[in-house]
Amino acid sequence: MQDEPIPTELIKAVADFLRNDIAPVISGHNAFKLRVAVNALDLVTRQLTLEAGSDAAEAARLARLLGMDGSLIELNRALSDKIAKGELDLETPGLAEHLWQTTMDKLAVDQPNYASYRRELGRKGD
């Protein structure tokens, strides 16, 4: 067992330092790159926090949809293949819901401020 602080705590501390102490004192292209760097650290924090839960739920949905077991990448490969061949389509019960949920879970990590994502989050409960 590894010691604490855990990775998300360490990354957040570094991101906060860059954001609060370094960003105000640099300018130009390096300021832009620093913003990208802080965004990358924030993304990693979100992934470490959310990935295990969303991956497990995605695998369970895929296993149901495809009637097979496998790793997440194998299941996704099988789904891609069936959609490409036209064996599954938007008429297939559960497919649209699965693709939406999986995509929403990706955006929650990648770009939670993306306008399309904010709009779709607001639809919850429809």
Binding site: K33, V36, A37, N39, A40, L43, I73, N76, R77, L79, S80, D81, I83, A84, G86, D89, L90, A96, L99, W100, T102, T103, M104, K106, L107, D110, Q111, Y114, A115, S116, Y117, R119, E120, R123, D126
Partner: protein, 328 residues
């Protein structure tokens, strides 16, 4: 230093020029560079841009039209009265600057967030979509007989191309498969009319001033094909920068874009434009995945490129909003 070569070069064709000053590289990939500089002239200095492939680089990537074609197209557009820089000089071997051309520099803004939010563009924004419709009609009306040799693109060839690129990445993305399937099922066939297509008509390649559009840049992806491709591409959600209810670049409506296009004497096919919007959304998604590949395989191991790789999911949600919309 590049100023020495540029000074020798401009002296040969710009009468009265005594040299150049302020040369600075604006962008540079592995095979193409863009430089800004001023031609020193007793009348008034002339703002100029150099686009070149430095000597020693091989053929451009297969999708690129090539710098000679870019210069020809830019000059054609300029001569037709479209907002396009004048080409001042096409590089010759004796210029020792590689291959490429020098063009007039326009002042203005290309950064989307500024164009969409800054007060100085407040008057330009409401008229941009209509104006750009007119500009596209002008581009699509350029005489076929004067065009340089360009790639020919059809909906079918583009789908095949995108699919090949996506499969080449070796990582499944079911939403991309859904989009490819939709595109194959809705392929409208070859366009009745084949015209010049700019190929990358969007924020970043348009110089905007407080008065509206000033210049169309970057003909690198120009080809011939379905003119509706350009109308679909500028509506792709990725170029709305958060203003998702204004499909044209985050500043205007499809109706305004189409009205400007038709006022210039050309017909819009809204279904085809929509088809190309789906294609364009997938194309940007595949390009984001390509950035990730380039990051991983080394030619550009930058943090920015890595992070663009994580933007492909944005195109997945936009594809779902187009193909499997939920509720109202």
């Amino acid at each position: 230093m590049i100023e020495a070569e540029l000074s020798r070069c401009v002296a040969a064709w710009c009468s009265g020029a005594t040299g150049v000053t302020g040369a600075a590289k604006l962008s540079g990939g592995a095979s193409q560079e863009t430089w800004t500089f001023d031609i020193v002239h007793p009348g008034a200095n002339i703002g100029a841009i150099l686009r070149r492939s430095p000597s020693g680089y091989g053929a451009a990537p297969s999708r690129a039209a090539g710098l000679d074609a870019e210069a020809t197209l830019m000059q054609l557009a300029h001569d037709a009265g479209l907002p396009s820089p004048k080409v001042l000089h096409v590089l010759r071997p004796e210029d020792a600057l590689g291959t490429g051309f020098i063009m007039q520099r326009f002042e203005g803004e290309t950064i989307a967030r500024k164009i969409l939010r800054d007060e100085q563009f407040a008057k330009a924004r409401p008229k941009l979509a209509r104006q750009l419709g007119g500009v596209l009609a002008g581009i699509h009306g350029l005489p076929a007989s004067k065009l340089p040799k360009l790639r020919q693109v059809t909906a079918t060839s583009e789908i095949t191309d995108l699919e090949g690129e996506y499969r080449g990445f070796g990582r499944p993305r079911p939403v991309f498969d859904l989009a490819l399937r939709w595109l194959r099922d809705h392929d409208p066939g070859p366009s009745r009319e084949q015209t010049l297509v700019h190929g990358d008509f969007r924020h970043g390649n348009l110089i905007i001033g407080p008065d509206g559009v000033r210049a169309v840049l970057d003909w690198e992806l120009a080809h011939t094909g379905d003119p509706m491709e350009d109308l679909g591409w500028i509506c792709v959600n990725s170029w709305r920068f958060g203003e998702i209810d204004k499909p044209v670049g985050g500043f205007g409506s499809r109706e305004e874009l189409f009205a400007g296009y038709e006022a210039a004497g050309r017909r819009v096919d809204p279904d085809r434009a929509r088809f190309w919007e789906v294609m364009g959304t997938l194309r940007w998604g595949v390009m984001c995945c390509g950035m990730m590949q380039r990051f991983r395989s080394g030619p550009d191991h930058s943090m920015e490129r890595a992070m663009i790789g994580r933007r492909s999911s944005e195109t997945e949600i936009d594809l779902l909003r187009l193909l499997a919309p939920r509720g109202n």
